[in-house]
């Protein structure tokens, strides 16, 4: 389906009026007040300080994919294997986030093309359960990686996640194993795999496919790390420096590449398709 049609077909599930209610938004980094249409036109990068705003999976796919987009795993939906209840029941939380984000789960996967190169793409969405990974995220990403393997196309995953989803217990943790196994097959088949790490990428997502790619691109100022900031601060009993666990911190430590998604992630997608 062509991207505009696909977005329109999805829009029925999205409450756009609520999304676009605020025409003005404040940059969380430099406090500049930005006009939303301008921000969107600038690919969600603050015009003043280059802060990269969190993006919905829809916006990011529209930004990256330049032709048709065929969704993968859209009929794979969450269940409640642990019949989990804390302050709320898990199915209630899922329904709320589905309503809020227009997403049926925390990742959207599919086949499309970037700059004329056919790719398999998965994009996580922080607005659905903080991008946490449960069985559906694992299944959809695995289906996408298996499609990349079968069609011999480069695979790209844009991450945004707080880690494994506690409400699915060990079934959530095992998704790390499942996706890693699919990445291993892709690697053995010598098919390029690229990840774009956006704010935030932590826990079980960070400690699995995010850092298994052939090429890792990180968005400027994105928070990226294994352990949560609070856990570390409790462990060491002191406050962490501001720069800690940012993309720039990783870049200096030689872990990945800190780049603006707006300009360079497309270029790196090309580079990935070239190899």
């Amino acid at each position: 389906m062509a991207i505009p049609d696909w977005l329109r077909s999805r829009r029925t599930e999205r409450d756009d009026s609520r999304h676009d209610a605020a025409l003005w938004t404040k940059c969380p980094s430099c406090a500049e007040v930005l006009y939303r249409p301008d921000l969107s036109a600038n690919l969600f990068v603050c015009t003043r300080c280059q802060h990269h705003f969190r993006m919905s999976a829809f916006d990011r796919i529209a930004m990256l994919i330049d032709g048709d987009f065929t969704e993968i795993g859209s009929n794979v939906l969450p269940s409640d294997p642990l019949t989990w209840v804390d302050k709320k029941a898990y199915p209630v939380k899922l329904a709320t986030d589905r309503e809020k984000s227009g997403m049926t789960e925390a990742v959207l996967c599919g086949l499309g093309s970037i700059g004329g190169h056919s790719v398999a793409l998965g994009v996580m969405d922080f607005y659905f359960r903080g991008g946490t990974m449960g069985s559906v995220v694992g299944e959809r990403l695995t289906l996408m990686l298996e499609a990349a393997l079968q069609k011999r196309r480069p695979a790209i995953i844009v991450t945004a996640s707080g880690g494994a989803r506690m409400e699915e217990g060990m079934l959530a943790l095992m998704q790390m194993a499942k996706i890693s196994s699919a990445v291993a097959r892709l690697s053995e088949a010598r098919i390029p795999f690229l990840t774009v790490l956006t704010d935030p990428t932590t826990g079980g997502v960070s400690a699995s496919f995010a850092f298994q790619a052939d090429i890792i691109v990180a968005e400027r100022k994105a928070m990226i790390g294994f352990a949560g900031r609070r856990v570390i601060e409790q462990t060491i009993r002191q406050k962490l420096p501001d720069q800690f666990q940012t993309a720039e911190f990783l870049w200096r430590r030689g872990i990945s590449i800190a780049l603006s998604i707006a300009t360079n992630s497309r270029r790196f997608s090309f580079a990935c398709c070239r190899i």
Partner: protein
């Protein structure tokens, strides 16, 4: 405070009384055997009452019991164990122990997470919390095993990966992530045994296996009960409740298709009979390796792929629940 250790204090008093009577019985030629038998029966009864059926939270404490056998207890039970050290790049992480050993008639590479057994060792071993260089040692040993066709046998026992500044600086995420791929790709049999606490990704890094064995009272969880309670109810005191929710016991995980074999423990826990439980685990692992011995490299990697491919709980569009149990 470990609730199992607390409960054992009452039993310890009874044990001492029985032992005293035994000494009297032996030295004074007074027949106390009736009293001894009575106390022993009472001991067994109490032991069964308090350990016969453990809650999830009690199992968490059993898994963390200071006397519970550690990785080195299992490793040193192997013949010709030769330890290999270090990641060759940065440091030798003592929270990981491993090397070459012989299990039955088979040469294997063994890797374990080693927590401390006393304060001094806790510091040396960082309480069993592995740093990036430890996970890189794991990768190095797993690659060595792969290169020379040796089965990989792991023993998992960690609260979780080390959450320190240095570990973030040296890319803890990358270290664990590479372990997962290395284990997924290894062209040899892998058997992982959860011997104590299996804490989240830090445990999984050693546990992508053809067969996952778990001790009866070990736990294996996506998050620590304390951490989960703090997040869910903003109250770490509700850890016991969280433990139930998390489905972290061997029986739960066998139901989910995550654990393949459960090794029963003596009443009172594995530490009541260390040589016995070590022997039983080693025999179980040996038998599994026997059953995997005839498989080709691709059968082994395919076997791991299908094991993990199936795990998860999904609803299809039409509302049919897809069960995860294989």
């Amino acid at each position: 405070m470990n609730i199992i250790v607390e409960r054992e204090k009452g039993l310890l008093e009874l044990e001492r009384r029985i032992e005293e009577l035994r000494v009297v019985n032996a030295s004074h030629a007074v027949d106390m055997s009736g009293e001894i038998a009575g106390l022993q029966a009472k001991y067994a009864q109490i032991q069964h009452e308090i350990f016969g059926s453990l809650t999830a939270w009690e199992k968490v404490h059993m898994a963390r019991h200071p006397m519970r056998p550690t990785a080195l207890d299992y490793l040193s039970a192997l013949d010709a164990y030769d330890e290999l050290h270090g990641d060759r790049h940065f440091r030798d992480d003592h929270a990981i122990v491993g090397g070459l050993g012989r299990l039955g008639q088979r040469n294997v590479v063994v890797i374990g997470q080693q927590r401390g057994r006393d304060t001094k060792e806790n510091l040396l071993r960082n309480f069993g919390m592995v740093s990036p260089e430890g996970y890189r040692k794991v990768q190095r040993l797993a690659e060595l095993a792969g290169r020379f066709g040796l089965p990989i046998v792991t023993f998992v026992d960690t609260k979780g990966a080390d959450p320190g500044i240095g570990s973030e600086e040296r890319a803890q995420s990358e270290a664990i992530a590479r372990c997962l791929v290395t284990f997924a790709m290894a062209p040899v049999p892998i058997v992982a045994t959860i011997i104590g606490e299996g804490g989240s990704g830090g445990a999984l890094a050693l546990a992508i296996a053809n067969s996952v064995v778990m001790l009866e009272h070990s736990v294996y969880s996506v998050a620590s009960p304390e951490g989960a309670a703090a997040i869910l109810w903003s109250d770490a005191g509700k850890a016991d409740e969280a433990a139930e929710h998390l489905k972290l016991t061997a029986a739960d995980l066998q139901r989910f298709g995550i654990v393949d074999h459960i090794v029963p423990e003596p009443v009172g826990g594995a530490h009541r009979d260390v040589p016995g439980i070590v022997g039983r685990v080693v025999d179980t692992v040996g038998a599994i390796l026997d059953s995997l011995a005839s498989k080709s490299a691709s059968e082994l990697t395919d076997g791991r792929y299908s094991k993990y491919r199936q795990i998860g709980a999904l609803n299809s569009e039409r509302g049919e629940a897809t069960e995860s149990t294989p």
